[in-house]
């Protein structure tokens, strides 16, 4: 069964419990016996940002933990592991999948999107637009698609010349007229950021690296999307402080 490694946890001296995201069945937990010592069944450790063909077996009927009998590597996005910014972004994606994909719930379209993301991440140099693009669309596949086109209240198209406010809980914006009636929508969005968000929502992968972003817009969108994701996943992401450090901090 084709899939990727999300997380590995050492289990005793020689085993690892591995969370996998499988194309056909979603997330599952599996044990890799002897992976830390024996080279017979696993000539290499199972690593993230690689695609494998797993042979899995249920350990006992009714038990949720699988046994990994073998894992043949199909593809290695090795360029991700050569750039600390790509590693940080890759881990951010893995964490969202860990939190939001349910055990044994298939998400074949999200799976394909994640592999496309890994391919673009390994080939592209434009990390920022890719980060924002992936955040918007992964959340969309998980059922939290944000709306950057129309006002949440009056449904009219948003005007970039106006002061629009973002509401992370509802995943959209309210226009200036509607905003004066509400106290909950706080974050105002600049016209440049709104334009980028609208573009990314509709764009396909090849168009993404072409976007140029000012450092102010980067910071603004990063914070907006972080609030949005954190709200819907109902927890702060562990990978975010590191991602922000390697991407946003001045060297």
């Amino acid at each position: 069964m084709e899939g990727i490694v999300l997380r590995r946890i050492d289990y005793g001296e020689s085993d690892q419990i591995i969370k996998l995201f499988l194309k056909e069945t979603g997330n599952i937990s599996a044990i890799a016996k002897g992976i830390k010592r024996s080279k017979k069944r696993f000539p290499h450790r199972l690593e993230p940002f690689r695609v494998y063909d797993f042979t899995l077996r249920k350990r006992k009927p009714g038990q949720s933990l699988y046994l990994i009998q073998s894992a043949d590597q199909i593809r290695d996005f090795e360029e991700i592991k050569e750039d600390i910014r790509k590693i940080a972004l890759g881990n951010f994606i893995l964490e969202i999948l860990l939190i939001a994909v349910k055990e044994s719930h298939p998400h074949p379209e999200l799976y394909d999107f994640v592999l496309k993301t890994f391919r673009n991440l390994s080939e592209s140099e434009g990390i920022f637009p890719l980060w924002f693009y992936v955040a918007i669309h992964v959340m969309g596949f998980l059922g939290f698609s944000p709306n950057f086109e129309t006002c949440l209240k009056c449904k009219k198209p948003l005007q970039k010349t106006e002061k629009n406010l973002f509401n992370p809980a509802r995943g959209g914006l309210v226009c200036q007229q509607c905003a004066t009636l509400s106290k909950t929508d706080k974050t105002s969005v600049t016209s440049e950021a709104l334009g980028v968000l609208q573009f990314l929502k509709k764009a396909s992968f090849p168009a993404v690296p072409r976007i140029k972003l000012s450092s102010q817009t980067r910071t603004e969108i990063a914070s907006l999307l972080t609030n949005f994701i954190t709200y819907h996943l109902e927890r702060p992401l562990k990978t975010l402080p590191f991602l922000q450090e390697v991407l946003l901090k001045k060297k």
């Binding site: 997380r7 830390k36 010592r37 290499h44 450790r45 199972l46 690593e47 993230p48 940002f49 592991k81 050569e82 750039d83 600390i84 590693i87 940080a88 881990n91 951010f92 893995l94 964490e95 860990l98 562990k238 990978t239 402080p241 590191f242 991602l243 450090e245 390697v246 060297k251």
Partner: protein, 171 residues
């Protein structure tokens, strides 16, 4: 164990003896390199024959012992006490990275060897260190290939490890 030690080089049994001694006396970490120590500084840092111009950065003391066992390294160490693990929330502030930066500022270091494990998190740690140490005028090197990807320095045989130390490459 005894049989094994009989055939191991002295440096290994010395390091092991010191490790056991340190645990017995009271577990202390060297104030300079964070190796296990039985005094303010560990035996390696106290040894005037060690070359202070080269620092070998390792994830843990087990890796330090493995490298000592090769006898191929005469410089000093810096033990990070872990590797970056973004998924578990282990960021740079949880490792002895600031302490390494301070050493580069204060000590006559000319070369830093990044001997973190060649798995995803070990590689991430090395890349992060490369970025942090770039402002300093030091040569940054990485162990040569030969250690299997995803492998652990601690389990690599002495000869291979010694060779990969000698053939280290600029990072």
């Amino acid at each position: 164990m005894a049989f094994y030690l009989l055939h191991a080089p002295d440096s290994y049994s010395d390091a092991l003896a010191e490790a056991i001694h340190a645990v017995k006396k009271e577990l202390k970490l060297c104030a300079r390199c964070f190796n296990l120590a039985d005094a303010e500084l560990c035996a390696i840092c106290r040894n005037p024959k060690r070359d202070p111009h080269v620092i070998c950065v390792v994830e843990d003391t087990k890796d330090l012992i493995a490298i000592e066992q090769t006898g191929a390294f005469q410089g000093l160490y810096h033990v990070l006490h872990g590797q970056l693990d973004p998924l578990q929330g282990v960021g740079p502030e949880k490792l002895k990275i600031e302490e390494l930066v301070l050493r580069l500022r204060d000590e006559p270091v000319k070369e830093v060897i990044l001997a973190t494990n060649p798995d995803a998190n070990g590689t991430a740690t090395a890349l992060y260190l490369q970025r942090r140490l770039k402002p300093f005028d030091v040569k940054i090197t990485r162990l040569a290939q030969g250690i299997p990807v995803g492998g652990d320095i601690e389990y690599v045989d002495t000869q291979t490890l010694g060779a990969s130390l000698k053939q280290r490459t600029e990072f």
